[in-house]
Symmetry: C2
Subunit: 195 residues, 2 copies
């Protein structure tokens, strides 16, 4: 087929989510046409990130500095912590850029069937963090799945002793959403939380 | 949002065909979870390929050696040349692995509207190559588009003086294709070329 180096590159690219062998080939061909402007910069960015990346010991975010740029950032409200399941949830909230507090990444949800217990998540760290720093409010932003709900309940109970205010994200009709296309669960939640 | 290095990486990845900002983010997150097994090897493969890649001066294929591994390969029939528009067409034919001859990449099609004339394609090189090496058959595998057809006609005329046998790929019903879903052009071609 193609040379061994190119084949190897296609195979590696095809392992990325959202790319298969066919789209990996297209991507490689595109890159081969402009090695200087796309291929070499991409190689460098990958290497730099791989070598510099680290997990923030405070919140669990992935970044190139520890503490991460959010925990270390000026202009963030340090008395508010938003608890999310995974790093991608943190990124999603940051894209909205309406939340100016700090985060805490759990690293998953409680899931007895998969053998994930409280010790496998960063829950103890959260409780310690709430107790030791002057946190006024913990916003639970776990997903509205069974596991996400269970985890939120468990965290709420664990945080009772600290006396911190615990809130949850509102559930309801998405902005721009049409009622006709919404699932029943969201409609029920939206009705119940009407204001 | 995320750290500057990670943002930069997402932006570069999002420029690949088939990937947008959202899938680039997913890909980066996936890679951040396994930097040793995916991120660093990918960086190395990209760098190696970018530095080693070259265009074969014989056939126009992109490879890490010149002449490319097909032109230099033992076990290929050197008396047959398959003419394709682009490198991806060559790769597609190689995947089928039923063709054992050599290739010639034109680098596009004749297109007066876009200002692409015979001198912009590797047609002169093809004629010289046919004349100087012992080629028995030239298979035209340009696409069945107006430009592809025009290019094939032009090449056929240019090759008349060399006396080489010029053939075209058969057009017809794809294997596994259903008549009901085929376009009229393909059906007409299949009827005309019935055997």
């Amino acid at each position: 087929m193609t040379g061994r180096e190119i084949d190897n590159l296609i195979k590696l690219l095809a392992r990325l989510p959202g790319l298969g062998p066919r789209s990996a080939r297209r991507a490689v061909l595109q890159m081969l046409k402009k090695p200087e402007t796309l291929m070499l910069p991409l190689a460098k960015a990958l290497e730099d990130t791989a070598q510099a990346m680290t997990t923030c010991h405070v919140c669990g975010n992935i970044d190139v500095t520890d503490p991460c740029h959010i925990c270390a950032g000026a202009g963030r409200q340090h008395d508010m912590i938003c608890v999310v399941e995974e790093v991608q949830d943190l990124w999603a909230l940051e894209r909205g850029s309406s939340f100016k507090g700090l985060y805490h990444v759990l690293g998953g949800t409680l899931s007895p069937l998969d053998g994930v217990g409280p010790d496998d998540l960063r829950i103890d760290q959260l409780v310690t963090r709430v107790r030791e720093t002057g946190v006024n409010e913990v916003i639970l932003a776990t997903n509205l799945t069974v596991d996400g709900q269970t985890t939120a309940h468990y965290i709420t109970e664990r945080l009772v002793e600290t006396g911190v205010k615990v809130t949850r994200l509102a559930h309801g009709v998405p902005v721009g959403g049409e009622l006709d296309y919404l699932d029943d669960g969201t409609l029920t939640a939206a009705l119940r939380a009407r204001s």
